[in-house]
Symmetry: C2
Subunit: 319 residues, 2 copies
Amino acid sequence: MQSFNSLILDIRKHFNDSLRKIQINDKPKYLYDPIRYSIQTKGKRFRPVLLHLVGRANNVQPDILMTMSLAIELLHNFTLIHDDIMDNDNMRRGKKTIHEKWDLSTAILSGDGIYTISQIILSQIPNLKSNVFSYFNKTTLEICEGQALDKEFENNYTISEDMYISMIEKKTGALIGASSALPLIFKHKPHHIVKVYEKFGRCIGKAFQIQDDILEITGDYIKMGKSLGSDILLGKQTMMAIKANNKYPSEWEDLISNSEKKNLTNNISKFLNDKGIIEECKLEYKAYFSASLEYLNQLEDIDISELVQLVNMLEKRTF
Amino acid sequence: MQSFNSLILDIRKHFNDSLRKIQINDKPKYLYDPIRYSIQTKGKRFRPVLLHLVGRANNVQPDILMTMSLAIELLHNFTLIHDDIMDNDNMRRGKKTIHEKWDLSTAILSGDGIYTISQIILSQIPNLKSNVFSYFNKTTLEICEGQALDKEFENNYTISEDMYISMIEKKTGALIGASSALPLIFKHKPHHIVKVYEKFGRCIGKAFQIQDDILEITGDYIKMGKSLGSDILLGKQTMMAIKANNKYPSEWEDLISNSEKKNLTNNISKFLNDKGIIEECKLEYKAYFSASLEYLNQLEDIDISELVQLVNMLEKRTF
């Protein structure tokens, strides 16, 4: 039996091959150079991997899964390009962001272009029903809502943990939920079944985001491939920041307003560690991973073992 | 018989009513306030009017036409919001642009949101085939290509008239072509018929853009509802600028580099008028309007009279 690790590597390799084979026009270079650059970055391809594993468990044809997963990944790319502008992020997946390497207009336009290409790719699936397009775009609108809440929450220290969870459910959970649900929608499965897959993915998404925020503080800059600690400097809310602000309001305020920028990540990391907040947030994301497994256990007639292994693998990730 | 003018007013009124009835969530306000603001601006609604007239001539149900035309107008809104950022335009349809009234991030995100809503609306048409989505998104990609070329052409005084025409065919022609072709694609008409409608719309689009550039120089700021003359300050190419630069290179360079900003529009308008360039460009756009009528004349089995009247009405517009 193929080991799970080699299965994941295999899916990722096939996915990256297919991504490279997407026909992108040569000109105008103003539009297509940054699109090529963005597509060629090395991502973890976690959403495509999830979609393929769900699809395998439900006997969806591999070529259909590949097309869907390309559309999902390009939709993800589009949101990253525009979010990076809004959040002033300079690095993404180990490379300069598009607005940093080119400029603002290039980044806006190439983001628009990638989203459009993702839908052109989706429409290549034969006999696709319009409910798939509707679901795909409703997912995007929810991601936009999540990004809007994220911007509204900046520098707002009255945000509760529940409000934060609702925000990341939209910003991160919606797309991971869609990656899990799309193969089932394609197969015309009943609504209540689709919803179980969607909730499974959304739980993973929430876990993934809380974990990501921790890794941004404690993680390896090179492996993460993006600038660390920038969220806190921007006044972004994270589960850790909310807990720190609730429990130690004056110490937390002192810390983030008085730390020098170059020491900020270290100082914050030490504070959150000493106060047990990182440990507390780890318990939170582990709870969401466990909740995702409970949704899986509601599913009958499919072999959930690969999906369980994926959740376990994600829980152990270090970047 | 209803006069043509009152028919157009009627279509526009129904369209505006339907636009107002689109369900837009209340929150997050960061996303939906600017979307509501953008939708409520007063546009000429020329693309929806064209789509309705083509649909009437081909017996497509009015409610289907309304849904399609809403999708087209929202797609148009999305491109305006993002283009206004890229082109630094502060006024649109008589109101502040979104990035001017709010900020950059708001404008990027609400543009993304409107484009997404346009596709959710499109997917509400019952039993819609995926080729409609494919066509809709290919149109958007072509508009992105047009905007990319427009950016590439800035301050490039080697751009020929042909290159300019190819650019506006994408930037303006593609969407007007799609407004004309979509009802036929929906009705599964053969490719060669769809193409005639598309080319009819694209000719109108090219005429419309050349005419727009002239009105931007000679027109009424209030009626046009946008800042005039800004294109030339940005080094944007127009048919007039290309002709002026080709025929009177040194005089033209002196004019655009030495005019004070506040007199620029007047000085340029006088120069282009005195040299006969405005008249020459008027002949060009009239030729494209005539070419559009030739495509109409290729169509059999439909009553083209309303479409002919629309072209005549457009040709006479002053804003």
